[in-house]
């Protein structure tokens, strides 16, 4: 499969709040290589999610453009899927149908799409929960469903919007290492939004640190940790700790 990178050219975006325009993104210029795991790190309100939605084609930038594989993004496309912060699962259908939903919309026949869905349910370690409804699952499990659904349509680019924001620390760590393994296996281009420094360092090849209002890139940080990464090897390493410390330094400067 052809691998695609993402280029952001001079993206700016403002919203109206209480009748006054608020500049959310200011002249964002970023390149993401094909197959790379890139994180956007920043405090809340820095426009990370807005950036992701612009890449996903759900929002239109006021200025600038997003280029994917030499083509300008004008809306959502089959090359990208999003993992949503609030999971965005259909509460009225079970896990299997939720995972197959993207394929269902694309008209894949029932038997085939359920087979694909089962494969991905297994990959996110939810086998046995095929016929549970989202309300019967914990937050972490719901987000695994969201990830499986995003992967099931086999996109080149995976956009993840603070996927672990509302799960507890224990679940979060387990999920992070599973995601790391999955990325190793699937070789997708990933754009990952987070406000956790440890998470960004552990998962990413490169990290863009953003400032708030207006959102700008204040630092581009390359993570020099070897791959494949396992939690035991990485988290204790000097390189890991130093990277986190460095990022904290940058973020602290922003206050």
């Amino acid at each position: 499969m052809e691998r695609l990178g993402v280029e952001l050219h001079h993206i700016s975006k403002s919203f109206e709040k209480d009748g006054r325009p608020v500049q959310v993104l200011d002249n964002l210029d970023v390149r993401n290589e094909a197959g790379e795991f890139v994180s956007f790190l920043g405090p809340s309100g820095c426009g990370k999610t807005t950036t992701l939605k612009i890449i996903g084609g759900l929002l239109e930038p006021d200025g600038g453009e997003v280029i994917i594989g030499n083509k300008r993004v004008t809306g959502p496309g089959p090359d990208r899927s999003i993992v949503f912060q609030d999971y965005a699962l259909l509460p009225w259908v079970d896990v299997l149908r939720n995972v197959a939903f993207g394929l269902e919309l694309r008209g894949v026949p029932k038997g085939e799409r359920e087979e694909i869905a089962r494969t991905y349910i297994q990959k996110v370690k939810l086998s046995g929960f095929e016929h549970h409804y989202p309300n019967e699952l914990s937050g972490g499990m719901q987000q695994r469903v969201g990830l499986a659904r995003a992967l099931a349509v086999n996109p080149q680019i995976l956009l993840m919007d603070e996927p672990f924001a509302s799960v507890d620390e224990q679940t979060r760590r387990l999920f992070q290492s599973d995601l790391s393994d999955l990325w190793q296996e699937e070789q997708k281009t990933v754009i990952f939004i987070t406000h956790s420094m440890e998470e960004a360092v552990y998962l990413s090849d490169r990290i863009f640190v953003m400032s708030a209002r207006p959102g700008r890139i204040v630092e581009e940080f390359v993570v020099h940790l070897p791959r494949p990464r396992t939690a035991q090897d990485i988290r204790g390493s000097k390189e890991f700790t130093e990277s986190v410390e460095h990022l904290w330094g940058v973020l602290r400067e922003l206050q």
């Binding site: 899927s81 965005a88 009225w92 939903f101 309300n135």
Partner: protein, 255 residues
């Protein structure tokens, strides 16, 4: 452990309710025998009249006649109300236009229209069905509309991200997502339809239950009057409760 406490709670609840039924039955009986009010009849007499009414088939016949109009008017209201609610939820301009009319219909005393309807259409099956329709339709339409508006915005974004077409969005997200509010609207609509039916039959009553009530009153057969009224309340309560049970069954995914 928890189920044991829940069971004890249930037993407590049921015994209190039975006790309360007993107390009220006693009060009714004693008050009726003491002739606190000229028209009040004791429970025993009422129950005897109820048995007679059931035995003679008069009650069943009256219910049959009344329910014919109820079902006709309510079915029309359900079809019309749900369609209109969905249309209002989907097209903004129609929503803007219709909203105020439905709010008016919802909060105005619909009964005020009854003399006009009787005047223009005469009394009969059609006029009464129309009255039932008018009582039921606003809440059905408004609830369905609210159901559409309350659908989680992130589900719609998610569907767009997976490239749902307009019709897919409607059939797979908006329609199932608005079912809970729609069902509640139908239940409330039926409750109002009952009120409309009874009011119409009482105002000019050559039909059904209203006729039975009027005849009983004019012949001073107050036991029969109490019995018919009691049966209406019980039947309505049972039907509405049944609807609620079906609703809960169908909406198990919500817990």
């Amino acid at each position: 452990m928890r189920s044991r406490a829940a069971k004890r709670q249930k037993v407590f609840q049921i015994s209190i309710r039975l006790f309360s039924l007993l107390v009220f039955a006693l009060i009714w009986e004693v008050a009726g025998r003491a002739e606190i009010s000229f028209g009040l009849r004791p429970l025993s007499g009422t129950l005897k009249a109820l048995v007679d009414l059931i035995g003679s088939g008069d009650l069943a016949y009256a219910f049959l006649i009344s329910f014919r109009t109820l079902i006709t008017g309510f079915t029309a209201a359900a079809i019309f109300g749900v369609s209109l609610g969905l249309i209002m939820g989907t097209f903004r301009r129609i929503e803007h236009f219709c909203n105020v009319y439905f709010m008016l219909l919802l909060s105005m005393p619909t009964a005020a229209l009854i003399p006009l309807i009787l005047l223009t259409m005469g009394f009969g099956f059609v006029a009464e069905s129309l009255i039932v329709f008018l009582f039921a339709v606003p809440i059905i339409a408004i609830n369905t509309h609210t159901g559409v508006l309350n659908i989680d915005a992130s589900l719609i974004q998610m569907s767009r991200c997976f490239l749902a077409s307009r019709s897919q969005l409607f059939l797979k997200v908006i329609l199932p997502g608005s079912v809970p509010m729609m069902m509640a609207g139908l239940r409330l609509g039926l409750s109002r339809a009952f009120i409309g039916m009874i009011t119409a039959e009482l105002i000019l009553s050559p039909l059904g239950l209203g006729r039975l009530i009027s005849i009983s009153t004019s012949k001073f057969q107050y036991e029969r009057l109490f019995a018919v009224t009691l049966s209406i309340l019980i039947v309505a309560a049972l039907i509405l409760d049944g609807m609620q049970r079906v609703e809960r069954r169908l909406l198990r995914w919500r817990h």
